[in-house]
């Protein structure tokens, strides 16, 4: 039915399309973290930046374009983020303002977040429980999708084919008027992942073909926005995603595990604007079904929040809000519910010359237990036209997951929340064609939860205290040479995540860098753009990683290089046909992100798009 509407609407708007200029939405509604999340390192990719990644996953984008280390068990397999040396469960992930981490596992699998769905992605580095809530210890990932008003109708379909049985199809269409805006995205991705690798587990280390790593994923996202009147709006989005995977075993194992994931996500937001204030009522529903072999897991979360934001004079901006969450988990070994209530206030003060200050506070109550108050304090200071300084101090918190508390056997209902304190300061510099940003952070994470065997049973406990410190630098330049534009971007990260002494662990584990946390990471890229052509060569370096806490095995550093070639000015009559070629692992490096988990060699991918 939706497709039928699109077809009708596309034909209906066909004549208009040729001479209509795309307009950006006039009504600016800045994201909350942009207004109140000062003093922190942030990165974002907008719709244009994501265009070349529509056939890929969030995990691939972050590996290529961000300083995060992604722990990946194979192509299309479980991939989890490592922000500033924290664990996968220390990253909050939001879609249209609602948390989408699994309540049972407390994390998201970035391989099954396809980039065909979001229009914008933001990364916020470091702890910020006051602004973002539960799980924002190491960092946060925010996905946004929204239908915009008064845009020309658009439709596109893209098809990609690549090595190792990879293919991806993405359809996108949108139309809008003054009152209503629609956007639909339908996608399908699959990969046989039948690449060859040297099997180190067998005598003679023969070359073998991967036979149990096939991946397929499909989904639909529908965004609808309704401008009820100039001061009221309703935004709603629905996202369904399903993924089927043959779980790639490590070398030396021949397990034939199969995993199916289905996610239903719904967000609904009502916004009311007054002259100097606004009201936002937001609700959301997330249901995740997972079948691992025959074991069934279902979790669902319902959210309802209300926020008021207003200006007091010219200098103060305040946001007050509350959110209630109901979580239900039905797993193979337990069923449980969780009720959460949180209230927060954000204050921004702009009364000092070139300095913006903020103070944010959040109080969370979980199942009638008061959690520690979460404050954050920070500033942005424009020192000169070229220099600006940012600084912040903030606390983060992670409530133990449903599995942590209720898994049978071994769940520990007495667990304390994991807590972090982080300080961060950074210097930004922009001059002419050049830009540079240097950030220093220091963070302590306490009550770090670890599952350990106790007799024959594994059980979680608050065991570790970890001190994370590091330096993040990113810089680059962009300028024109005649009709050719040249972009260069570089980044380097130094991350220490040191396990502190504790009474529960062997002294051989003390004062050691956490496993699978590279101290050194770097990346760089060069891009040339001319007459519709673009050429980009990018590379990432991942330093050595220990596989265990005592560093008894150190994995080699590796670097990967990609080549992107695009041509956007191919027209077939009225139809634009952008074409792109991508080569991943250009130098065919043999590498493992995690021990004994082989990754694919060189692969070539051709993408053709038909854009109306």
């Amino acid at each position: 039915m939706i497709l039928f509407v699109w077809v009708l609407s596309l034909f209906g708007f066909q004549a208009e399309q040729q001479d209509t200029v795309r307009l950006q939405e006039i009504e600016v509604n800045a994201a909350v973290f942009e207004t109140f999340g000062l003093g922190k390192k942030q990165l974002n990719w907008d719709k244009a930046a994501l265009e070349n990644y529509q056939s890929r996953s969030l995990s691939e984008l972050l590996q290529e374009k961000s300083p995060l280390f992604i722990r990946q068990y194979g192509p299309g397999m479980l991939a989890s983020p490592n922000f500033r040396g924290t664990s996968a469960g220390h990253t909050a992930v939001f879609w249209n303002g609602i948390p989408i981490n699994s309540p049972s596992l407390g994390q998201s699998d970035l391989s099954i977040i396809p980039l065909a769905a979001p229009d914008r992605i933001d990364l916020i580095f470091g702890s910020d429980g006051a602004l973002l809530g539960n799980e924002a210890l190491g960092g946060s990932i925010l996905l946004q999708s929204q239908a915009n008003f008064q845009e020309s109708p658009t439709a596109s379909i893209s098809q990609e084919v690549g090595s190792f049985g990879q293919s991806a199809t993405a359809f996108q269409a949108g139309f809008s008027g003054e009152k209503l805006a629609f956007q639909t995205k339908i996608y399908s991705q699959k990969a046989e992942n039948d690449y060859t690798f040297r099997d180190l587990s067998l005598p003679g280390t023969p070359e073998k073909t991967q036979t149990h790593a096939a991946f397929s994923q499909k989904g639909i996202q529908q965004d609808i926005a309704w401008r009820i009147n100039p001061s009221q709006r309703l935004n709603t989005s629905f996202w369904y995603n399903e993924a089927d995977r043959k779980i790639q075993p490590p070398m030396g194992s021949s397990t034939q595990d199969i995993q199916e994931d289905q996610s239903f996500r719904l967000s609904l937001a009502y916004l009311k604007f007054w002259n100097k204030s606004s009201l936002e009522i937001r609700s959301g529903w997330v249901r995740d079904d997972q079948v691992f072999n025959q074991s069934f897991i279902q979790t669902s979360s319902f959210f309802l929040s209300g926020d008021w934001e207003g200006e007091i004079g010219k200098e103060w901006k305040i946001r007050l809000g509350s959110r209630g969450t109901h979580i239900q988990g039905n797993l193979s070994t337990y069923s449980s519910t969780d009720q959460r209530l949180e209230t927060y206030q954000f204050i921004r003060f702009s009364g000092l010359n070139n300095i913006n200050l903020f103070l944010n506070l959040r109080q969370l109550v979980v199942d009638q237990k008061w959690q520690p108050l979460l404050p954050s304090l920070g500033m942005d200071w424009i020192l000169s036209p070229s220099f600006s300084l940012k600084a912040s101090v903030s606390k983060g918190l992670k409530v133990p997951t449903l599995n942590d508390r209720f898994w049978e056997p071994g769940g520990n209902p007495e667990l304390l929340p994991e807590e972090s304190w982080q300080g961060e300061t950074g210097l930004r510099w922009n001059k002419g064609f050049f830009h540079s940003e240097l950030t220093f952070f220091a963070m302590d994470v306490e009550n770090w939860i670890i599952w350990i065997p106790k007799g024959a049973i594994w059980s979680p406990d608050n065991i570790r205290r970890v001190r994370n410190t590091g330096i993040e630098w990113a810089g680059g330049t962009e300028f024109a040479m005649g009709s050719t534009r040249l972009k260069i971007d570089l980044a380097y990260n130094y991350t220490q995540a040191i396990n502190q002494s504790n009474s529960e662990e062997s002294p051989t584990f003390w004062n050691r860098q956490l496993p699978y946390t590279p101290v050194h990471q770097a990346q760089g890229g060069v891009e040339l753009i001319r007459d519709g052509y673009s050429f980009r060569l990018s590379s990432q370096y991942i330093g050595q990683r220990a596989t265990t806490l005592d560093h008894s095995r150190i994995m080699d550093a590796y670097s990967l290089t990609q080549l992107h070639l695009n041509y956007k000015k191919l027209w077939l009559g009225p139809v634009q046909v952008p074409i792109s070629l991508r080569i991943e692992n250009l130098f065919n490096k043999s590498y493992q992100v995690l021990y004994l988990r082989p990754m694919p060699g060189r692969s070539i991918h051709l993408n053709l798009k038909i854009q109306l």
Binding site: I452, K454, G455, L596
Partner: protein
């Protein structure tokens, strides 16, 4: 496991004694790993980082990852059992393979890498290998198709036959041309004729049969139940139960070490909420029990060194990194400790 420690020790001891007494045999230099203690490190689930360490008891030098060191590739499996048969050392990985190395220098001499699922242990009999295997896990994690895999060469090769047995077979022991199999889930001991490769007889037992061992010239079986442990001995002429003895030792985990005099040291674990681990001591031939011989947490494996009469107790350290071995004397006094590999679970004293 104890069977695998005690018997090889005796074989090695006798072999060394015979060579020492024979003036006509030329002296052969000992291989690097023929002396000392081989430490079996199981590895962590999902990481497949099982390995063998070697402790030179003359120099106290501990050499790590000797399979990878001598063969230029990682073991890449979860090391479930380590069996010495003459000069061959069989490394059984429950991730689906058996590596065979020369016990003197640890160089690979063969393997069984196909048609195994979850191998648990191995015996050599009638110039063949018999490998107990849980069989494939069903989607509900049951293992209805457990078997004993037969390989026609002591140097490995392909699986020629799978003999169906009761669910979750664990330890095995030779009795002439017959092999006794501990069927841990259904409480059975299956007797396999190694020559016909068929089940000759099935003996029903109580509890979960875990391990065979030899003491006082008899073959014993250690079986565990929630409130007690049971020791069986067998008539090996007609494969019937000879003795059955129950002892009130609760929460036994199935890990056991046996001295040549028949003193058993058994790991116990209280479970939730205290998770208190312990070692219970039982003198099999005078029924003396010490339920609190040693207490602690994180215990993972136990073994008995018949040369120095010491007990080797391992701690997995939560599998977060390398494990620890604590050496205790027979009065439970700590003598020394070693940092070994990940998930240390067994030893071979040579």
């Amino acid at each position: 496991m104890t069977k695998n420690l005690f018997k090889p020790f005796l074989i090695s001891f006798l072999a060394v004694s015979l060579f020492a007494c024979s003036e006509s045999e030329p002296e052969r230099p000992l291989g690097e790993y023929e002396q000392g203690i081989l430490i079996m490190n199981e590895g962590a689930f999902g990481a497949n980082d099982g390995e063998v360490f070697h402790l030179n008891t003359n120099t106290d030098e501990l050499k790590s990852n000797i399979f990878e060191l001598e063969n230029g590739r990682p073991f890449a499996g979860l090391l479930q059992d380590m069996i010495l048969e003459e000069d061959r050392l069989y490394l059984v990985a429950n991730t689906g393979k058996v590596e065979i190395v020369d016990a003197r220098d640890f160089k690979s001499i063969g393997s069984v890498t196909e048609n195994l699922d979850v191998p648990r242990s191995l015996v050599a009999n009638s110039d063949k290998l018999f490998i107990s295997d849980y069989g494939p896990y069903e989607s509900d994690f049951s293992t209805p198709n457990s078997y004993i895999a037969v390989v026609q060469s002591l140097d490995g090769g392909t699986v020629s036959k799978k003999i169906p047995v009761s669910r979750k077979p664990e330890d095995m022991i030779n009795a002439g041309r017959y092999i006794l199999v501990a069927g841990s889930e259904e409480g059975k001991v299956e007797v396999i004729d190694a020559q016909t490769e068929e089940i000759f007889k099935t003996i029903d037992v109580e509890g979960r049969p875990m391990m065979f061992f030899e003491a006082n010239g008899l073959v014993y079986l250690y079986s565990i139940a929630s409130e007690e442990v049971i020791f069986y001995s067998f008539h090996l002429d007609n494969f019937t139960l000879r003795t059955t003895n129950y002892y009130p030792i609760v929460n036994a985990t199935g890990k056991i070490a046996i001295s040549p005099e028949g003193v058993a040291y058994m790991l116990t674990s209280s479970g939730w909420p205290d998770y208190q681990d312990g070692v219970a001591k039982l003198a099999l031939f005078d029924s003396e029990i010490d339920l609190d011989w040693h207490n602690g947490s994180g215990f993972y494996g136990i073994s008995y060194d018949p040369l120095l009469r010491e007990i080797y107790l391992t701690n997995s350290n939560g599998f977060q990194g390398n494990g620890t071995v604590t050496v205790l004397d027979e009065q439970a006094i700590e003598r020394r400790t070693y940092e070994v590999g990940r998930g240390p679970s067994g030893f071979l004293f040579r």
